[in-house]
């Protein structure tokens, strides 16, 4: 429990005053809980002795009075403590999300969305239960326990010790079952994560599943995960089924011992019958704390197991940060000159380098094109510029400064990026285009960006135009519309560097031509890196680089490369040949 528990403390201590007040309320409530039976006792004693009407009225009023005071504190207790637990839940959830925001692309590629979601929902809930209700009830329980034992001690020390003889058994049981429940619960939560991930994937890929008649297979897969979840729960249920009654059982042993030994004491005349009866009464009082105790143990163990799972995210160390930022980096003008110096890059965890010894200089305002076979490393190369993945030190420079030394926000703010697979948010088209612009941008700028991307004619055909809300990931748009929205989004940022990763692959030739014509005007004042498979897209670039297996094997202008007769020329001929073949 140690370190994980220590990490929880700061969240709790932030509300220490409220916890202090709330716990005080618990104490008062418990005290009042213990007082009201006394009022009743006195009332009955008085009635037995023949009280007056006034006295009766007094007792009646006292009963209601005490209960009302108790009610006020009980109200405060719940309100304050459970309220504080909600505040902590809020803090933890924010911390969780804030940390997720700092985690780089690689982190998400190694994890499943369903799993992260499960931590943010199911596990957080278990943690809150531990902080709120469990703390409230355990305080109450412990108090009741202590008071009852105190009273018992005042009646008879020896009997009390006898009654408490099974206590070591209780603590062994709590310890054993506690850690067993903890372990089981961890594995259940892990399985719940798994289940979520299975659902998440099958639903996200629903079209593939349907197209290939894979529903039975997906159902079978889900069934297996579901059955495993039940199986793991079964073990937990068995533990719980043994744990709760075992506490009652041990308490019962105490009662038997008291009955057996205590009655002998009575017969020997060491204690009176009345004392014996009263003692037994208090022993009964212990049974509720015992039950609550088991319950609290359960919640605490679950809470801690879940908290550990949450900590795995909250305490994750972001790999891409502003740690290396220098003064020079902070003051960089960011004009858009890009340099790669002997860049060799391998994805962490997978051995062979994807990029090998790549050197490239792009002066500000130039347009550079990257072509190369599938998997040759084009996307990898450009992902290093905005530090989606971390380049080795001193290999990727912007305006002569290592990108690692430039604050992330400034760096990314200078780059307009159109990913190969664009992600849109389920929001209006206008909001998606304006995604990278932080102040209220004028509507006409948004329209201008849409016009460059040739999205305008499509959008104007929609009944709600730019206010059309797109589905999850932009699902209600056509492939080309999605791509062009992403393009407009990047242009809208008015960046120094524009990066297009195969950004026109889903666009027809005619529209592509229109877009390229407009882009040329846009790119005139900025550095642009264009990845494409079509010669038509890249031919006008100031520099064309051909990547092959992570190396730049050719570079130059279109005409030079064609004349040079290498890979590019071959590519060009192939594409040209196709067209000519068709024309003939």
């Amino acid at each position: 429990m140690g370190p994980a528990f220590r990490r929880l403390l700061p969240y709790v201590l932030r509300y220490r005053r409220r916890f202090a007040i709330g716990l005080t309320c618990v104490v008062i409530t418990t005290a009042i809980q213990l007082v009201s039976p006394w009022v009743l006792k006195y009332a009955i004693d008085d009635i037995t002795r023949g009280a007056t009407r006034q006295k009766l009225a007094l007792y009646a009023a006292l009963l209601v009075g005490v209960a009302s005071v108790g009610a006020v504190f009980r109200f405060l207790m719940r309100r304050i403590l459970i309220g504080a637990s909600r505040d902590i839940e809020y803090d933890v959830r924010n911390a969780f999300f804030a940390r997720l925001q700092q985690m780089p692309l690689g982190y998400y590629q190694a994890r499943r969305t369903g799993d992260l979601m499960s931590r943010a929902t199911n596990d957080l809930n278990a943690v809150r239960m531990m902080i709120g209700p469990a703390v409230m009830y355990s305080t109450n329980t412990i108090l009741m326990f202590v008071v009852a034992i105190g009273i018992m001690l005042s009646i008879d020390t020896r009997l009390t010790l006898i009654a408490l003889l099974p206590l070591p058994l209780v603590s062994i049981s709590v310890k054993y079952f506690g850690s067993a429940i903890h372990k089981r619960f961890e594995s259940i939560q892990a399985q719940l994560s798994d289940l979520s991930a299975v659902v998440q994937e099958a639903l996200a890929g629903v079209r593939v599943v349907r197209a290939y008649n894979q529903e039975p297979h997906e159902i079978a897969r889900f069934k297996a995960a579901n059955a495993e979840y039940v199986r793991r729960n079964r073990v937990l249920i068995r533990l719980q089924g043994l744990f709760y009654p075992s506490l009652t059982l041990f308490l019962g042993f105490g009662a038997v011992l008291v009955l057996w030994l205590g009655s002998r004491e009575v017969i020997r005349g060491r204690i009176t019958l009345g004392e014996f009866v009263a003692f037994n009464g208090y022993l009964v009082m212990l049974s509720w704390p015992m039950i609550a105790f088991g319950w609290v143990t359960n919640i605490l163990q679950r809470g801690m197991a879940s908290w550990k799972r949450m900590l795995e995210v909250i305490d994750a160390v972001p790999a891409i940060t502003d740690d290396h930022v220098t003064e020079a980096g902070r003051a960089a003008p960011l004009l858009g000159a890009i340099e790669l110096r002997h860049l060799t890059f391998a994805y962490p965890g997978s051995g062979a380098p994807v990029l090998a010894d790549v050197s490239l200089t792009v002066s500000a305002g130039q347009t550079v094109a990257l072509v190369g076979a599938t998997g040759s490393g084009k996307s990898t190369l450009i992902s290093l510029l905005p530090r989606l993945h971390e380049p080795p030190p001193g290999t990727v420079l912007l305006d002569g400064i290592d990108v690692r030394e430039i604050p992330l926000a400034a760096l990314r703010g200078a780059i307009g990026f159109v990913p190969q697979e664009p992600f849109l948010f389920s929001d209006t088209i206008a909001a998606n285009i304006g995604f990278g612009v932080h102040d209220e941008a004028p509507e006409n700028r948004m329209r201008a960006a849409a016009a460059v991307a040739r999205l305008d004619k499509d959008v104007e055909a929609f009944p709600a135009a730019y206010d059309t809300v797109v589905g999850e990931r932009g699902i209600t748009l056509s492939g080309g519309q999605k791509q062009r929205t992403a393009l407009a989004r990047a242009i809208m940022m008015d960046p120094r560097v524009l990066i297009l990763d195969d950004a026109l692959s889903a666009v027809d030739t005619y529209t592509e031509e229109e877009i390229l014509a407009r882009l040329r005007a846009v790119m005139r004042q900025r550095t642009a890196i264009i990845v494409a498979h079509r010669v038509s897209t890249v031919r006008e670039a100031d520099l064309i680089c051909v990547l092959d297996k992570g190396r730049i094997v050719e570079r130059g202008r279109h005409d030079d490369l064609v004349a040079h007769g290498g890979l590019y020329a071959a590519l060009y001929r192939k594409q040209l040949l196709e067209e000519e073949l068709a024309a003939s």
Binding site: L40, I44, A51, L56, A60, V64, A67, A71, R74, N94, Q101, P104, Y108, Q109, M117, T121, L195, V199, E201, L203, A204, G205, V206, R207, V208, Y212, Q214, E215, H217, I219, N226, L259, W260, L273, G372, T374, P386, L388, R412, P419, F425, V469, G471, E472, T476, S478, G480, R489, A506, V507, T509, Y510, S536, A570, L571, Y572, K574, L576, E578, A582
Partner: protein
């Protein structure tokens, strides 16, 4: 209302929901009966303990009978163990029944999700649907395990106490019961408010989940566009609203429990006042008064207990309402009634049939496809396709071109019955697809979607999906045909290499190749390619095209492409423009028409020519 919002819940019809929920108990009546029996026996044993104590005191301590005391102690121990066993049985049967019911319910929800129309998926974010299958079902579990059964117990206790009180002294019983209207009022107030606030809480939870889901999947985009602060602020806003809604609902709980206790104290006070008075007058015995007080306290405990469970019930009702709503969402696209051998209600069991059907049957049927005056609108009134007619003969190769957004992918969506036509009809071998079995229609086709989707698992899993009849050799051959074999072999584990969610660690072209390989591995009658090589380099594309010539010889191919070169040697080319079929024919015919296709072609050709 954005699609993130949980549907606003209708009026709670608790009774109806409850009845429907209880039907899930039906297969497990025996288990529930066993649990109930265990609960009742346990409480009898519980009650016998004071009696044993009384026996010990009255009989044996008074007489100093040590043997008797020993016997009592033995009996006590026996009872303790019996109670232990009963408790265990009760927990075990009850919770396991809960688990089994949850298992059933989850399977039912998930099975339904596997049948629901794609239109439904357009409107419902995955995050929300996940909540249905996981969290909502778990909430119901709480009810089955802690709520329902013990509430029955509570009700019996209440009735029992009322009977005892009335038989003891009906006047005093009336006095005690006089506070009941107060209880009713308080409870009503509580129920009304808690229900309201619980709904608000649920709405916010759903928004948190949808927001998280979307931002976890789109985090790289958030970071690239430096939206972290804004996203955080929005998240903070939702999170805060969720907290505040919760704090509001705490208020009702915090007021309710103490209030019930005060009312209970009021009852005690009344009993003291009236009962005490009557005792003084001698019309009631002091013993009865004491008993009355004790019982009346017992009376209020189940009431506040029951409201504690109300919490659970409330949550369960809200969850079940949403689950049932999902289960009640009708499936529009189902196997047709004229489907072959559909003896069983085709609406009900397409899943089962699909399970038993062999998967790849390339020679099933001829595969003659005809669109007859097909019009289609995703949203009523907004036509995306208008009056499209064409046919594809078996073995023919069809190309579809057209500007982006023209409706090409939509055509495919209709062909595979992801959606149903709004007007007109689609015939396969002369039969309306709506009359055919769904699996039968889809089995004809292999589809490479424009948006590639890979699952986490291995490379081989992604090619063969769940189809065990596709052996490793076939997987490899399919991969070889699309030239994916090379890069797969280069991976450390080859075809057994793990694939991340959505194939995140592969290049986009590689993903496309894998999904192409998948289509070939299924050995379809008709291959449908929606921009299947858009992210693949020219060399590989040409190689694939050559391979297809051989592989798909004699079989139908339908290909959508923007690069005219990809489709120009097809048997027939359709030119789609703004949802209408404007031209169709062979490449040369289309060029001769000097229409849209000609213009498109000019553009590409001129472009090449300049170099």
């Amino acid at each position: 209302m954005s699609i993130h919002d949980e549907e606003i819940l209708g009026k709670a019809y608790d009774a109806r929901l409850m009845r429907r929920l209880l039907t899930y108990l039906r297969p497990y009546t025996r288990h529930v009966a066993l649990a109930l029996a265990a609960i009742i026996s346990a409480s009898v044993l519980q009650l016998s303990q004071p009696y044993l104590m009384k026996l010990a005191i009255d009989r044996y301590i008074a007489t100093g009978d040590l043997h008797g005391l020993n016997r009592i102690a033995m009996a006590f121990v026996a009872i303790l163990f019996a109670a232990f066993a009963l408790d265990y049985i009760q927990t075990w049967t009850l919770q396991m029944t809960g688990q089994r019911i949850m298992f059933d319910l989850r399977m039912q929800v998930y099975g339904h999700l596997q049948r629901l129309d794609l239109q439904f998926y357009d409107r419902n974010p995955v995050g929300r649907l996940m909540t249905r299958v996981t969290t909502d079902v778990d909430v119901l579990n709480d009810m089955f395990t802690s709520g329902v059964v013990s509430i029955f117990g509570d009700v019996f206790t209440l009735l029992g106490i009322m009977i005892v009180l009335i038989t003891m002294d009906w006047r005093l019983a009336l006095v005690a019961f006089s506070v009941l209207p107060l209880i009713v009022i308080v409870t009503q107030w509580f129920r009304r408010n808690v229900r309201e606030s619980y709904r608000t809480v649920r709405t916010w939870i759903a928004r948190i989940n949808a927001f998280l889901q979307e931002h976890i999947t789109g985090m790289p985009t958030v970071q690239l566009f430096r939206r972290e602060r804004r996203a955080y602020e929005r998240f903070d806003g939702i999170n805060r609203a969720h907290r505040d809604a919760n704090v509001d609902s705490i208020f009702y709980y915090a007021v309710f429990y103490p209030l019930v206790e005060v009312v209970g104290a009021l009852a005690s006070a009344l009993i003291i006042w009236y009962g005490g008075g009557w005792t003084l007058q001698g019309t009631i015995a002091i013993g009865s008064l004491v008993a009355f007080l004790l019982y009346s306290q017992r009376f209020f405990r189940p009431i506040s207990d029951m409201s504690e469970k109300f919490n659970v019930l409330q949550a369960a009702m809200a969850s079940s309402e949403r689950i049932f709503k999902l289960l009640d969402t009708p499936v529009q696209i189902t196997s047709g009634l004229g489907a072959r051998g559909s003896g069983l209600g085709s609406q009900e069991r397409p899943m089962l049939r699909a399970t038993h059907a062999p998967s790849a049957r390339p020679d099933a049927g001829e595969g003659h496809i005809a669109f007859e005056q097909v019009s289609f609108a995703y949203n009523p009134g907004e036509y995306v396709l208008r009056d499209v007619s064409f046919e594809v003969r078996p073995g023919e190769r069809l190309g579809i071109v057209g500007a982006t957004g023209a409706g090409k992918s939509t055509l495919i969506n209709l062909l595979l019955r992801f959606y149903d036509v709004t007007e007109g009809r689609i015939l396969i071998d002369g039969r309306d697809v709506r009359d055919m079995e769904l699996a039968e229609v889809r089995r004809l086709f292999s589809l490479v979607l424009q948006d590639v989707h890979l699952f986490s698992g291995t490379i081989a899993d992604n090619i063969r999906l769940g189809e065990r009849s596709i052996d490793d050799e076939r997987v490899r051959r399919a991969a070889q045909a699309v030239h994916a074999d090379r890069f797969v072999q280069a991976l450390p584990l080859g075809y057994a290499s793990p694939v991340a969610e959505r194939g995140a660690t592969l290049s986009v072209g590689q993903k496309q190749l894998l999904s192409f390989a998948r289509a070939l591995a299924f050995n379809p009658r008709v291959l449908v390619l929606d921009e299947a090589t858009s992210s693949v380099d020219t060399e590989t594309e040409l190689l694939i095209r050559d391979a297809l010539h051989v592989l798909m010889a004699g079989r139908t191919t339908i290909a959508i492409a923007h690069r005219l070169s990809t489709i120009q040697d097809m048997d027939k080319i359709l030119v789609l423009h703004k949802g209408q079929l404007r031209e169709s024919g062979r490449h040369q015919d289309l060029l001769a028409q000097r229409g849209i296709y000609y213009k498109l072609y000019q553009l590409q050709y001129r472009d090449q020519d300049v170099g």
